[in-house]
Every structure is written in structure tokens, then in C-alpha cells.
């Protein structure tokens, strides 16, 4: 899987509340579509109008910290974000992203050299992340088997729809 796009650069400790404030989680508890216009609203005003399909978020440490709300990665994906690159991720956000098929990539170097608007490429086949604008490339750890299969197909629900079982269960045929 290869994703290339324009970057939105963010700092350390971007919480699930920064991504989508908890108050909308409760107000729009039954309908995630209603939350979309509030995505990143306190961090990047007007984000939902400015974001373009394929854009990539690049952030610092502990991206997605805070609550377990899965609306956070779901809304990023719904808004067209192609991948999130960060120095580290909060573990529930990381899991949630994998499960819904949003590629999340851990990178030590690239976030430090990246600025808003740079063109970023992630290549999960060859295993690297690259800031094309700055000419900086960094190898990334390949996903473990099941994780790679889930991300590749676009999420675990997609996988189950396609194969009738989660990736770790043997095909019975």
C-alpha cells in the first residue's frame, strides 16, 4: 500500500478531544456524520473545509491520547485523511485506526523535518516514510501479519465481510 499526500503538521500530545471534542460525541451519539464538521475544529479552524482527500497528518509524540472514542480515527478517514504519521501513538487510537483501516505509521525522524503542506509518502510494501518536499526518508517497521492484512483491506469489518472470518481464523473450505 502506498499513500502520498499533502501534510497537515501537528505537535505532540494531540488528544482524541483535539480530534473530536467529547461534547459532540455525546450530542451526536447516534450519528457520526453530524460530527464531521467539528473535526480538529479547535486545532485547525475550518479543517473540514480545507482538508483534501489523500491528505496526511504528521504529528509528534502520543498522537490520539485520551479517550477510547473510535470516532476520532473514523472521522479522520471519513474526511479523506490517507494516513497518520507520528513519533508515537496512544495505544487505543492505534488499535482503532488499524481496525477501521486507517494506516498509522510510527516515525522518529520525519515529523521533526516536516512542515505544513509538505508532500509525504508512505510505502507499506517497501517499508518507508518519506518527506518528498524535504528529501528525507526513513525506514519503518513492517506491520505484523494480521495487522497488515487488516490495514491493506481497509479494516477488520471489511476483512470479515470479504472472508467471513477475522484474519487469524483459518479458512474452512
Amino acid at each position: 500500500m502506498i499513500r502520498q499526500g499533502r501534510c497537515w503538521k501537528l505537535g505532540d500530545n494531540i488528544s482524541t478531544d483535539h480530534i473530536i471534542s467529547g461534547k459532540y460525541k455525546f450530542e451526536a451519539i447516534n450519528d457520526i456524520n453530524k460530527m464531521l464538521t467539528h473535526l480538529f475544529e479547535e486545532v485547525i479552524p475550518g479543517f473540514h473545509k480545507l482538508v483534501r482527500p489523500g491528505d496526511i497528518v504528521v504529528a509528534g509524540r502520543n498522537f490520539g491520547k485520551g479517550s477510547s472514542r473510535e470516532q476520532a480515527p473514523r472521522l479522520l478517514k471519513m474526511a479523506g485523511i490517507g494516513a497518520v504519521v507520528a513519533k508515537s501513538f496512544a495505544h487505543i487510537f492505534y488499535r482503532n485506526s488499524i481496525n477501521i483501516g486507517l494506516p498509522v505509521v510510527i516515525s522518529r525522524k520525519v515529523p521533526d523535518v516536516t512542515q505544513n503542506g509538505d508532500v509525504i509518502e508512505i510505502n507499506l510494501v517497501e517499508g518507508y516514510v518519506k518527506n518528498i518536499t524535504r528529501g528525507v526518508m526513513e525506514p519503518i517497521q513492517p506491520y505484523p501479519k494480521y495487522i497488515g492484512q487488516i490495514v491493506e483491506i481497509g479494516g477488520i469489518v471489511e476483512y470479515i465481510r470479504r472472508y467471513g472470518r477475522p484474519p487469524w481464523q483459518e479458512a474452512t473450505r
Binding site: D17, E27, N30, K65, S67, S68, S88, Y146
Partner: protein, 417 residues
């Protein structure tokens, strides 16, 4: 091997090691009304599953918006009740209690189990020697449908709590100190395992406060090995160990960190983040508009007891609202029996039903612009308890109670003889 690796290995009957992706059979999966609606969407609409392999191990809680403060919540709750009925899942309705409290006190999660919860504070449950970790809604859906899910086995950091615990210092002060030291990303990708001679003086109630806030250091999980204190607690409640796992220290940790608790003082986490920690002396005198004693962090019987002890025969300051919410119906009933509720009401407190409401800024005591609260909860992010220009200080129930009397942040030690 850390204790968590051993619990998973024991459950799977094969050895796992840190960093490995394991397919884990879950003993308990639970969710709350903030995360359950999306679980229902995934199971019914996205996957179209008619039944759950783990229905008898799945639990739903109405605790975040309990009882429903608006129609959107009411309809989410209605969906949860219908789902629970249809799939044969046990639902704990509004008023029963906060999920992490109830799964422990009702003996749903027991030592040696693997428990997952669609809530970030699931590590709370590790206080009784279970492996408990937070997950998302799709995760919970998968766990309910298949009874298993993928987990990355975390590396373990051993924290050794030692020394006698000074007067006025509680589990909350110990964990606030640690969050201040290790910072909000200090334990990212790791689980925390507690050892040390201070543990023998920490009850299950206090231990749950400590494991609860390991989430604030980004720990994936937290665990305290089964010891005398746990065994006594199990015995008193008529519960048993689910799986006996050797808790002996085998020395294979990524880090071993000593924490000397005898030198600690009452601590406070000032906004806007949980690692912005000070001693109570450094923030003493700060005027507060609201005091909240409750939540999955500090809404247990010993928390209400210390608050009542400090407040007894006194009045709450006229300038504050003091809201006390026991973490479960059982705690509420015990607090009533012990006379604590009476003391608190006499003094002018509002004793609310069990709910997450004030902790998460959902209902029952939101803050207006510019208001300041001192709360026994676990998060003080911008706008957490209401208006984005309101501020929350986190502290122990003793510090919160002392502050309620004075209307400003106060040192609880002068009220403790």
C-alpha cells in the same frame, strides 16, 4: 516475564512475549454508553451478525449519561437495552454504577482473567490481578462476536512503591506524583506492574485509584499481583481466583523504578494536563467554585468515608457547590448505612446518584466560563468538565473535602487528627 505475559500465556496455554501480536481469548468484554452505540452499529449494521459467541461474557453499562440528560442519550440507551435483550447480553442500567467499579465489586472480573473494556480507564481493574486493557468500539464488537481479539503484548515496567504512607497521603497522591514524574507519555506502549512494601497498606479501593490513573501515563495496562490484601478482599466478598498465575518477580522488566512514598505530600494536578503536578502547598488558597468527589478514580467507600470524616460537624463554604457521587449503588448503600451520606448532606453537599456525568462534563454539574473546580477525577484537560475556559484541579477526596470547607484549595492534613 511480567505478570501480564504470564496471564495471557496461561490463558492461551502457550508462551507469549512482549511485542508479539497474540490472538487472545477474552474472559470479559464490557462497554459503556459512550462507546456502545458504535459497537451496536458495527455488530448489527456493518457486520450483520445475529448472535455473539461471547454473549455470556459481554456486559454493557449505562454510566456516562446516567440517567439520560437529553433525548440523544435516552435514545442511545434505548438502543442499548434493545440490543442487550436481543443478544442476551447483561446490561447494567443507569444507577447501577460506573463500569470499572462494578466489574470488580460484582466479581465479574477476577484475578487471572483477561478483560477488555471499551473505555480508556479499563486498566483500573488490574488492581485485583487481572490483565485489563482499554479498546475501541470495533474491537469490542469483534470480542463480543468471536470471543477473541488481537492484542499486542506490552512491555512491562515494574514500579516499586516503598515506605510508610504519610498522614494525608492517599492512593491518589501517589499516582498524581507518578504522573508528574513520568509525564503523560511516560509509559506509552507499556504496562505497569506494582510491587513493594507500601502495597500492604493500600486497600483495593486505593489500589484501584492508582491503576486507574496509569492511563494518564499512557500505560496500556496496569496490574498488581495477588497478595494478602487481594486474598482477604476476595474472601470477604465470596469471590475466587479465576486463574492462578504466579506473581513472583522474575526480573524481566524493561525498567524498574523505585518510588519512595514516605516522602510524599498531598498532591494536586493543575490544569491543563494531568502531569502538571504540584504539592497542595503550592496551590493552596486558590478559590474554587465547585468540588466534585466521585468517578471511577475516587468514588469508592473509603473515599466517601474520608470526605465525611473531614466534613463532619462542619459546613461547606457558601461559595462552592460540593457534589458527591458514589461510584456504584453498592457504595452508595454502604455509605448510607455508615452514616456518611447523612454527614455530607448536613454539611450542604449534593449527594448524586452514581454517574460519570460531572467527570466527563456530560451533565450534573458543568462549569461555566472562568469557573474553577477541584475534583477527584482523573483528567483536567481544557473544557473537560464544562466551558473551555473553566479549569479543573485534580486531588484526593481528602484534599477535595478540605477545599469544600474553605472554598479554596486546602491542605487536608489540618483536618486529620
Amino acid at each position: 516475564m511480567g505478570l501480564i505475559d504470564r496471564i495471557v500465556s496461561r490463558s492461551l496455554q502457550k508462551d507469549v512475549s512482549p511485542g508479539e501480536i497474540a490472538i487472545v481469548k477474552v474472559d470479559v468484554v464490557y462497554a459503556q454508553d459512550g462507546t456502545a452505540p458504535l459497537i451496536i452499529d458495527v455488530i448489527e449494521n456493518e457486520l450483520g451478525m445475529g448472535k455473539l459467541a461471547a454473549a455470556d461474557r459481554s456486559y454493557l453499562f449505562i454510566d456516562h449519561l446516567a440517567p439520560a440528560p437529553h433525548i440523544a442519550a435516552a435514545s442511545a440507551h434505548k438502543r442499548m437495552r434493545r440490543f442487550a435483550e436481543k443478544y442476551g447480553v447483561r446490561l447494567f442500567d443507569a444507577g447501577y454504577g460506573i463500569s470499572h467499579q462494578v466489574v470488580v465489586e460484582d466479581g465479574i472480573v477476577r484475578p487471572g482473567m483477561v478483560a477488555v473494556g471499551a473505555d480508556s480507564h479499563t486498566p483500573t481493574v488490574g488492581a485485583i490481578g487481572a490483565y485489563a486493557t482499554g479498546i475501541g468500539s470495533t474491537d469490542a464488537a469483534i470480542a463480543m462476536v468471536y470471543g477473541e481479539l488481537w492484542l499486542r503484548i506490552p512491555e512491562t515496567v515494574k514500579i516499586v512503591l516503598s515506605g510508610p504512607i504519610p498522614k494525608g497521603v492517599y492512593g491518589k497522591d501517589i499516582i498524581l506524583y507518578m504522573v508528574g514524574e513520568f509525564k503523560t507519555d511516560g509509559m506509552i506502549g507499556k504496562s505497569v506492574e506494582f510491587h513493594g512494601n507500601a502495597l500492604k497498606n493500600l486497600t483495593i479501593d486505593s489500589r484501584m485509584t492508582i491503576t486507574n490513573m496509569c492511563t494518564e501515563m499512557s500505560a496500556e495496562s496496569a496490574i498488581i499481583p495477588v497478595d494478602e490484601v487481594v486474598l482477604r478482599w476476595l474472601d470477604e466478598h465470596g469471590y475466587s481466583i479465576a486463574r492462578k498465575v504466579d506473581g513472583e518477580d522474575l526480573g524481566e522488566y524493561v525498567d524498574v523504578i523505585p518510588v519512595e512514598v514516605s516522602r510524599l505530600e498531598p498532591m494536586v494536578a493543575a490544569p491543563p494536563d494531568v502531569d502538571n503536578v504540584a504539592t497542595v502547598g503550592e496551590v493552596e488558597g486558590m478559590e474554587v467554585d465547585q468540588v466534585f468527589i466521585g468517578s471511577c478514580t475516587n468514588g469508592r467507600l473509603e473515599d466517601i468515608e474520608v470526605a465525611a470524616r473531614i466534613i463532619k460537624n462542619k459546613k461547606i463554604s457558601k461559595r462552592v457547590r460540593c457534589i458527591v457521587s458514589p461510584a456504584s449503588r453498592r457504595v452508595y448503600r454502604d455509605a448510607l448505612k455508615m452514616g456518611y451520606v447523612d454527614v455530607l448532606i448536613e454539611a450542604g453537599c449534593i449527594v448524586a446518584p452514581p454517574t460519570c456525568g460531572p467527570c466527563v462534563g456530560a451533565h450534573m454539574g458543568l462549569l461555566a466560563e472562568g469557573e474553577v473546580a477541584i475534583a477527584t477525577t482523573n483528567r483536567n484537560f481544557m473544557g473537560r468538565m464544562g466551558h473551555r475556559e473553566s479549569r479543573v484541579y485534580l486531588a484526593s477526596p481528602a484534599t477535595a473535602a478540605a477545599s469544600a470547607i474553605e472554598g479554596r484549595i486546602a491542605d487536608p492534613r489540618k483536618y486529620l487528627s
